[in-house]
């Protein structure tokens, strides 16, 4: 079986685009977990909400209104979740947290059904990014290139904030050892809250960005949850490097698996997950060495 250069370029771009969507989702989840030891299984539901907010806002004021406001709206949902539920559950242990956030998935799912109905919504890419462009021998949709560039830009911004700024050092200190960080006068609770909201906003951003590529359905949050969890388990909990590496691995294995070995595609990523868990159970780049 031979493939020309165009095939490889096309599939590489597809893989990158999937990787970037997963990165936007997994970075929030992984840093929240690293910092708060809190598994928010409802993170995928926030992605679905981002898509719905985006679609509704776009219907009023065009794509860009949705693009900029949907993450803000989802961060607002995050504030409600944090103050209503998560703050109270901080000390209640992983089992209770998993059960509550698992239940939250269904609560949020039905809320989206009540507000937006069961029918799939569509969100069109903005005129500016509509159409295709010739790129390394292939005609590639501009919107998908935009998703790749956006993901890389967010990665760059987060790498700068986490790696080079005072607040980034405080977040890393909190992930390393939250008790000691508190003893040094770092308000770890407030840091949690800010990180949680930013994580929610990024999940919302992923949702609105994904909407023109997929159709917006209530189940989209459930469908993305497992890939996101696989990404952070492969990448290692709590680290930016782990989130980007895990996303890339997932994106490339999934995309190339589907075209090169379609019979194996559905199990390939799970086999890889199992291999990582056997060889390096903490993931490839965990925050705690």
């Amino acid at each position: 079986m031979t493939h020309d250069l165009g095939f490889w370029t096309l599939q590489t771009l597809n893989a990158l685009q999937l990787s970037m969507l997963l990165f936007l989702l997994s970075i929030g989840l992984t840093v929240i977990f690293g910092l708060m030891h809190f598994v928010n299984l409802a993170h995928g539901s926030l992605y679905a909400m981002g898509a719905y907010f985006g679609a509704s806002l776009a219907a009023v004021g065009g794509y860009w209104l949705g693009f900029f406001l949907a993450p803000v709206a989802v961060a607002g949902v995050g504030v409600l979740l944090y103050s209503g539920l998560i703050k109270r559950m901080r000390r209640s242990g992983p089992m209770a947290q998993v059960l509550v956030t698992f239940g939250l998935i269904f609560a949020l799912l039905d809320l989206t059904r009540i507000f937006w109905g069961d029918l799939a919504l569509a969100l069109d890419a903005p005129a500016l990014l509509d159409g295709r462009v010739a790129f390394l021998g292939v005609e590639y949709p501009i919107y998908r290139l935009f998703v790749i560039v956006l993901g890389l830009a967010i990665f760059g911004a987060l790498a700068f904030v986490l790696g080079r700024t005072q607040i980034g050092a405080m977040i890393r200190a909190g992930v390393d050892n939250d008790a000691m960080a508190a003893c040094l006068g770092i308000n770890v609770e407030r840091l949690f809250f800010v990180v949680f909201c930013v994580g929610c906003a990024l999940a919302g951003l992923a949702g609105v960005v994904a909407a023109p590529l997929l159709s917006v359905t209530p189940e989209m949050g459930l469908q993305i949850l497992i890939p996101t969890l696989i990404v952070i388990v492969i990448g290692g909990l709590g680290s930016l490097k782990g989130a980007i590496a895990g996303s890339m691995i997932y994106g490339f294995v999934q995309t190339f698996g589907a075209v090169l070995a379609p019979q194996l595609a559905s199990i390939l990523i799970y086999a890889l997950l199992a291999a990582v868990l056997v060889i390096k159970p903490v993931g490839l780049f965990p925050a705690k060495g």
């Binding site: 005072q166 890393r172 508190a182 003893c183």
Partner: protein, 232 residues
Amino acid sequence: MLEVTGVASGYGETQVLHGLSLEAWAGRVLAILGRNGAGKSTTLKTIMGLLPLKSGQIMFDGKPIPARPFDVAKSGIAYVPETRDIFPSLSVRENLEITERRFGGDTPDWTLERVLDLFPRLGERMNNGGTQLSGGEQQMLAIARALLMNPRLLILDEPTEGLAPIIVKMIHDKLQELKSDGLSMIIVEQNFGFATSLADDVVVVGKGQVVWTGSAEEIKCDEHAQHTWLGV
């Protein structure tokens, strides 16, 4: 300065402190001595808010001490834990800066330059990761980081544990310098000579209570107390 009265505390269901009382005075060094498992570290963790205060009270400068570690730190108490707890993901510089920038104020006593004068060794390792340091360097960094909080009370848990004699001597001299500067300190130690040469006051803890109180000079002469409570 710090008054601990009838404190009960412990880990989960296991109670370690049973009505422990002690007092640390401003401008003086208090050593807390005792055998392993007597409750020395538990006392410090309870003061810092790392373990819940089940009963009794802790007053700092005449006010009840806050419950959360973050507020305890803000009230002016700096803590150097037994395990040093240097952040592995941060460079030496970042380990220092995360406290310096928030506690500095306008005319801080302790600045980055001043702690590097105290521990020149750290200056050579500013860009190293926190975990690339030797045990002695980690201890220096933990003390330097605590000083940058410009604390009114410095609490050290076993500052000499696992260190080579020459480093122990160096840490001793540096703490002596801080003492001459008038910094109030509480030191938990297994090393009897180290502790009694630095301290003004001594309390001995056994089975979660204070069993002996006096001055450093007194305990050096009291062979009975040393034998009964410290196994010296």
